[in-house]
């Protein structure tokens, strides 16, 4: 494992990508054999792909048109009734709203803090491994571990947070029990947990910026801040677009830490759309209805993906 990476750079520096070249020999001999080989190599993946991705997508769509229940009862085909019910379901809209709210207030710090940390660490600090270790290691924890840690720190009487506030003379906060604070408490835990991932991506991107840019700039007398805003930031543009999009898509799927810390409470104030899907199916036993909400959620994700394609096209055009 440790010796292997040496092969990669040689290939990159060869300059020409093989795939960019016409490959006449291979092209002209598209044979029956190639067809067989190609599909044979693809077959194992395809089997899983069809069974555990394509088929559930289809059966979910079908299910969403039925009154299927977890108890086995099935009221049969009911057309779009589940969808019309969902669109009139204020709990569904509230969960969707909570999800969008979480996405907004988590994406901003998860991107900005990651960038700031990466920029600071990239200033040639000593002990690079130490910073990576500190900021990235929480990412390796299961959501349950993170939730246990933070629920304990948010404990009203015995928690670190309120203890800290008390030392500053600030009255205690009901972190997970106050509807106006709970989502922020979840965001704090989430930032601690996952910001290290974006931090690593930014750090890698920063280190890919050619040194010459900075050398030229400092010859021209540009200072550190200037260099950051006029070189680093623009060079990080594509990375930032990608990180933001990935982060939005990841935040929209939020479930674990909310379910574990507040179960969606207090009073549904933190319930996410994935939790609503989960509950409609497994506590409400309404698989058909749950499948319909799944598809509404999928529709939202598709819209955002389309927006992404639109934005990146525009940028590269």
């Amino acid at each position: 494992m440790s010796t292997a990476p040496a092969t990669a750079p040689a290939r990159e520096s060869s300059g020409i990508r093989r795939s960019d070249l016409p490959a006449p020999v291979v092209k002209s001999s598209r044979s029956r054999r190639d067809n067989i080989h190609g599909w044979a190599f693809s077959a194992p993946f395809l089997v899983f792909f069809l069974m555990f991705l394509v088929w559930p997508m289809i059966s979910g769509a079908i299910m969403s048109l039925t009154g299927k229940s977890l108890t086995g009862a099935n009221s049969g085909f009911i057309g779009l009734a589940n969808y019309t019910e969902a669109f009139a379901d204020s709990d569904m809209w509230r969960s969707l709203g909570n999800t969008l709210y979480f996405t907004l207030i988590s994406t901003v710090p998860l991107v900005v803090i990651a960038l700031a940390l990466a920029a600071l660490v990239n200033m040639g600090l000593p002990a690079q491994w130490l910073w990576r270790l500190s900021f990235f290691s929480p990412f390796l924890l299961a959501s349950t571990v993170v939730s246990l840690f933070f629920a304990w720190m948010y404990n009203p009487e015995l928690g670190l947070f309120n203890d800290f506030l008390a030392k500053l003379g600030i009255p205690p906060v009901a972190w997970l029990n106050d509807p106006s604070v709970a989502m922020w408490a979840i965001v704090i835990a989430t930032v601690w947990w996952t910001v290290g991932f974006n931090f690593l991506l930014y750090l890698a991107a920063l280190q890919n910026i050619p040194q010459q840019h900075y050398e030229a700039a400092s010859l021209d007398g540009a200072g550190g801040w200037r260099q950051f805003f006029s070189i680093s930031l623009p060079q990080l543009g594509p990375t930032t677009v990608m990180i933001v999009i990935l982060q939005i898509l990841a935040s929209l799927k939020v479930f674990d830490q909310i379910y574990q810390m507040t179960e969606g409470g207090p009073g549904g104030a933190t319930r996410s759309i994935v939790q609503y899907i989960f509950e409609a199916g497994f506590t409400g036993y309404r698989l058909g209805y749950s499948a319909a909400i799944s598809y509404i959620f999928f529709g939202l994700i598709l819209l955002i993906a389309l927006a992404q394609v639109f934005i990146t096209r525009k940028r590269s055009a």
């Binding site: 092969t7 993946f45 395809l46 555990f52 600090l125 500190s134």
Partner: protein, 299 residues
């Protein structure tokens, strides 16, 4: 999709991605300031670990007494760890997590690498469509599938089996894309020579392509393993029986079982966190490079 926008760093040369100090001249003052700021933040980042550790080393009485303190009145004790290890299922859950994550990683690597190789190298009918479908599938969020997958597993009678945990978790379309891009960069000459010598496709794939691809295979394996190890939602749905739970799911049941036993809660959480943290300490470079390599793959 915007697949080409960020194709640059397939894999970075060993040195450049880390440890190489930035040669950019910086005033000592600004660097010292940055070091202070980053140090303070790094310490803050370690507080949850430290507080969990201190709590786990307290007696339950000390853990639940006010005012809270970093140094317990009756001294540190391993009682909570001992209790959790004696009465709990944590060793079983750890093995379950290890087994299912390893199986998921192995299957994912085999099926993804072979389809990626086919798409990269073999000129077969329908491969463009195949690649298109795989890339398009990246957009499907796993939570959308839980209801139909549960139904499917139920009708196959696989709920509460390892199969239910493993099978639905082996499709990682972004990883197919990452692997294909890497294979594209391997010079074809190597394979053409072997083809001339009459070597079969499978032989070329296993003896030439795969050995050359070790860094990317390691990166993909790391990414998939971490994801599988920590996955919560699907295992939470697919298993109920305590002896089959994975660590993250088992931990969730502990929370409700132990209730207000804070020291034991933290001891359990730390025991659950330990395996990956230890692995990380040993393979820090590989893991960080792996994440940096595959992290943006989904786009």
């Amino acid at each position: 999709m915007a697949t080409t926008t960020l194709s640059k760093p397939a894999l970075q040369p060993e040195g450049s991605a880390e440890s190489l100090p930035n040669r950019r001249p910086k005033t000592p003052l600004s660097r010292a300031l940055a070091t202070v700021v980053v140090s303070v933040l790094a310490v803050a980042w370690l507080v949850p670990f430290a507080w969990a550790t201190v709590t786990a080393l307290k007696s339950e009485t000390d853990a639940a007494s006010t005012p809270i303190s970093w140094i317990p009145a009756s001294g540190f004790t391993f009682d909570a760890f001992a209790k959790v290890l004696q009465s709990g299922n944590i060793p079983t859950w750890t093995l379950n997590s290890l087994f299912t994550s390893a199986a998921i990683t192995a299957i994912t690597l085999v099926i993804s690498a072979s389809v990626a190789y086919a798409i990269s190298r073999i000129d077969f009918r329908g491969k463009r469509m195949l690649m298109g479908v795989i890339v398009a599938s990246i957009i499907i969020p796993p939570p959308v599938l839980i209801i139909p997958l549960f139904q499917q597993m139920q009708s196959l009678n696989l709920i509460d089996t390892y199969w239910a945990l493993i099978l639905p978790q082996v499709i990682h379309s972004p990883m197919v894309f990452v692997l294909k891009k890497f294979f594209d960069q391997i010079p074809r000459e190597l394979e053409e020579a072997a083809l001339m010598d009459g070597a079969g496709r499978l032989r070329i794939f296993t003896t030439i392509v795969l050995p050359l691809s070790r860094p990317i295979l390691a990166a993909v394996a790391i990414f998939v393993f971490i994801g599988a190890w920590n996955n919560f939602l699907w295992p939470f749905i697919a298993t109920n029986e305590s002896s089959l739970l994975t660590l993250p799911v088992g931990l969730q049941t502990i929370k409700s079982a132990y209730g207000i036993q804070y020291a034991q809660n933290m001891a359990s959480a730390l025991l659950a966190a330990l395996p990956l943290i230890v692995v990380f300490l040993f393979f820090q470079r590989q893991i960080i490079r792996g994440v940096a390599t595959t992290g943006l793959a989904g786009t």
